[in-house]
C-alpha cells in the first residue's frame, strides 16, 4: 500500500477527480492548504506599503492505493493537472503499512 499526496492548483481538482475516476480510483481525500514555493504569491498593498503574500492556496489530495497502481495514478495526476506553469505542484509517495475500512473492519486491498 502506498499513499500518494499531490499538491495541486485548486481549479484543477475537478479534472483530477475525473481522471482518477477513469482509472478506477474510488476513494480520495482532499483538503485546502497553502503552499510556499517557487511560484511567487501576489503583491498586496496595505496603507501604501507593498508586501508579498507568499502562501498560495493549493489543494492537497491524498490517495491510498495498492503499490501496483502508483505509476498509473501518478501519470493520471500529471496528465490532468499539468499546465506547464510554475506552481503546478508536487507528487509525494509514502509507504503505508496497513489500511482498514472502519465500517467493515476489512483490511488491505479490500479496504480501499
Amino acid at each position: 500500500m502506498k499513499k500518494i499526496e499531490a499538491i495541486i492548483k485548486p481549479f484543477k481538482l475537478d479534472e483530477l477527480k475525473s481522471a482518477l475516476h477513469d482509472i478506477g480510483v474510488t476513494g480520495m481525500t482532499a483538503s485546502e492548504v497553502k503552499g510556499f514555493g517557487r511560484q511567487k504569491g501576489h503583491t498586496e498593498v496595505y496603507r501604501g506599503a507593498e508586501y508579498i503574500v507568499d502562501f498560495i492556496p493549493k489543494v492537497k489530495i491524498e490517495i491510498v492505493i495498492d503499490e501496483s497502481m502508483v505509476d498509473q495514478v501518478t501519470d493520471a495526476i500529471i496528465g490532468s493537472v499539468k499546465t506547464g506553469k510554475i506552481g503546478d505542484g508536487k507528487i509525494f509517495v509514502l509507504p503505508v503499512e496497513s489500511v482498514c475500512r472502519i465500517r467493515t473492519g476489512e483490511t488491505g486491498q479490500e479496504a480501499i
Binding site: 492548483k9 481549479f11 475537478d14 497553502k34 501576489h42 503583491t43 498586496e44 498593498v45 503574500v53 507568499d54 502562501f55
Partner: protein, 457 residues
C-alpha cells in the same frame, strides 16, 4: 434657508426649472374628497395649511431619498453574496465607486439631461446646462394644485439616488470577470449620459410621455435600462471560466447566503422609497396604496418563485425565493399606483414565475449572469411595464410595448457599442490567471476574508 449660501452657489451654477415628473398627477384628490372638508380656496386658512403640507411632503421625499440610498447597500450585499468569495472585494469596490460616480455625474450633467425643461430636439433630447443650483425664490416645487411638494434640492437628491442604480444592475451581471477600469468607464458614461437622456423621454416630459407611456417608478426607465446593458455586457464578456464545460452547465454557487438575504431585504426596504417616493408627495392615499401593492407584489413574487422552483427542482430554493421577491418588486414598479390590489398580487406572482423560468433559460442559452440580474431587472422590468397596459384600463398595451421596444433598442445598442469599444481598446475581461485567482487579489491586492492565519506571514 440661508440665502447667502444659495446666492454664492448661484453665481457659479446655472438655474434650472424643474418640471413635475409625471404629467397630470392626480394631486391630493383624496384629500379634496375628504368628507366635510372643503379646502378654502385662496383664503388664509389654506396659506398656513399649505405651508405645513409643503414641509410634510418634502420630509417624506427626503425619507424616500434615504430609502433609495439603502438600495445601493442592498445591491452590494446581494451581488457579493451571490458570487464567489474571491471576487468580493471587487464587487464591493464597484458598488462603492458607483454611488459616488452616480451622485457626482448626476449633479454635473445627469439631472439637467433628464429634466431639461425645454428640449432641443423635440421630446427627444435636451440639456439645461452643467451643474446644479437654484434661485431661493423658486426653490419650492409645487404640485398641480399649487401646494409645495418639495424643494429643488430634494428633487435633485431623490433623482440622483436613482441614477446610480442602473449601473449597479450591470455590475452584478458582469461580475467575476470584467476589468475594473473598463467597468468604471462604462458606468460613468452610462450613468452620466445614457440613463438620464433616455429617462427624459418619459420623466423629463419627452416624446414617450406625450404618447401616454406609463412607468410609475421605473420598471423600464431604471430596471430595464440597467438590464439591457447587463445583457450587452454578458454577451460581449462571455461566461466565466468553468461555467460551461463540454456541454455541461456547472454551477458556481454564491459564497454567502446571509449576505445575499440581507441584500434582498434591504432592497425591499429601499423600494418603499423607490415606489413610495415616486408619488412625489406624501399624498396619504397614494403613498399608502403604493406601499400595499409593492409589498403584496413582493410577497406574491416570493410565493410564485418558491412554487415553480420547488416543482422544477424538487427542492425549495432560497436563491429563487430571493429573486422572486425582487421580481415582484421590479414587476410592480411600473404600475404600483394604477393597478388594483388584486392585480398587484397577480403581477407579482407572475413575475415570480417568470424569474425562475428566465434564470433557467438564460443559463441554458449560455448567457452567464452570476446574480440573475437580466432575469430580475430586464425580464421582470418588461413584464411590469406591459402589465400596466394589461391591468390598468387607462393605459394602452401597445403604447407600453412601444416604450419597452424604444428603450430596448436604444439602451441595448448604446451599451453594446460602449462595451465593444472598451473591448477593442482597453479590453473588457481580466486574463485567465487573474480570473482563476480571483479579482480581489488581481485587481485590488486584497482579500475579502483575510482571516486565515497563514496569510498573515
Amino acid at each position: 434657508m440661508n440665502m447667502d449660501v444659495i446666492n454664492i452657489s448661484n453665481k457659479e451654477l446655472p438655474m434650472k426649472k424643474s418640471i413635475a415628473r409625471k404629467a397630470g398627477l392626480p394631486f391630493f384628490t383624496a384629500l379634496m374628497a375628504m368628507p366635510g372638508v372643503a379646502l378654502a380656496g385662496e383664503g388664509v386658512a389654506e396659506v398656513a395649511g399649505s405651508a405645513a403640507m409643503y414641509v410634510v411632503n418634502n420630509t417624506w421625499m427626503l425619507v424616500a431619498t434615504f430609502l433609495v440610498f439603502v438600495m445601493h447597500l442592498g445591491f452590494a450585499a446581494l451581488e457579493s453574496g451571490m458570487t464567489q468569495a474571491k471576487n468580493t472585494v471587487n464587487i464591493l469596490f464597484k458598488n462603492t465607486a458607483i454611488i459616488a460616480i452616480g451622485l457626482l455625474t448626476y449633479a454635473l450633467v445627469g439631472f439637467n439631461l433628464m429634466y431639461p425643461g425645454d428640449f432641443s430636439i423635440a421630446g427627444f433630447f435636451g440639456f439645461a446646462g452643467f451643474g446644479i443650483g437654484v434661485d431661493p425664490g423658486s426653490m419650492m416645487i409645487t404640485g398641480d394644485d399649487g401646494v409645495g411638494i418639495y424643494t429643488y434640492w430634494t428633487d435633485f437628491i431623490f433623482q440622483a439616488m436613482f441614477a446610480a442604480t442602473a449601473a449597479t444592475i450591470v455590475s452584478g451581471a458582469v461580475a467575476e470577470r470584467i476589468k475594473l477600469h473598463s467597468f468604471l468607464i462604462f458606468s460613468v458614461i452610462y450613468v452620466a449620459f445614457i440613463y438620464p437622456w433616455v429617462g427624459s423621454w418619459k420623466w423629463g416630459g419627452g416624446w414617450l410621455d406625450a404618447k401616454g407611456f406609463y412607468d410609475f417608478a421605473g420598471s423600464t426607465l431604471v430596471h430595464s435600462v440597467g438590464g439591457w446593458a447587463a445583457l450587452a455586457g454578458v454577451i460581449l464578456l462571455g461566461p466565466r471560466l468553468g461555467k460551461y464545460v463540454n456541454s455541461r452547465i456547472k454551477p458556481i454557487m454564491g459564497h454567502n447566503m446571509p449576505l445575499a438575504t440581507i441584500g434582498v431585504f434591504l432592497l425591499w426596504l429601499g423600494w418603499f422609497g423607490f415606489n413610495g417616493g415616486s408619488v412625489l408627495s406624501a399624498d396619504p392615499g397614494l403613498v399608502s396604496f403604493v406601499f400595499v401593492t409593492t409589498s403584496l407584489a413582493a410577497a406574491a413574487g416570493i410565493v410564485g418563485a418558491i412554487m415553480l422552483s420547488w416543482i422544477l427542482q424538487k427542492k425549495p430554493d432560497l436563491a429563487m425565493a430571493l429573486n422572486g421577491a425582487l421580481a415582484g418588486l421590479v414587476g410592480i414598479t411600473a404600475g404600483a399606483d394604477v393597478v388594483t390590489v388584486m392585480s398587484s398580487i397577480v403581477i407579482g406572482f407572475i413575475a415570480g414565475l417568470l424569474v425562475v423560468a428566465s434564470v433557467m433559460i438564460i443559463d441554458r442559452i449560455r448567457l452567464d449572469d452570476p446574480v440573475g440580474a437580466i432575469s430580475v431587472h430586464l425580464v421582470c422590468g418588461i413584464w411590469g411595464t406591459l402589465a400596466v397596459g394589461i391591468f390598468s384600463a387607462d393605459h394602452s398595451f401597445m403604447v407600453q410595448l412601444l416604450g419597452v421596444g424604444a428603450y430596448g433598442v436604444v439602451c441595448f445598442a448604446a451599451a453594446f457599442a460602449l462595451f465593444l469599444a472598451l473591448k477593442i481598446t482597453l479590453g473588457l475581461r481580466v486574463d485567465e490567471e487573474e480570473e482563476l485567482k480571483g479579482l480581489d487579489v488581481g485587481e485590488h491586492g486584497m482579500e475579502a476574508y483575510g482571516g486565515f492565519v497563514i496569510n498573515k506571514s
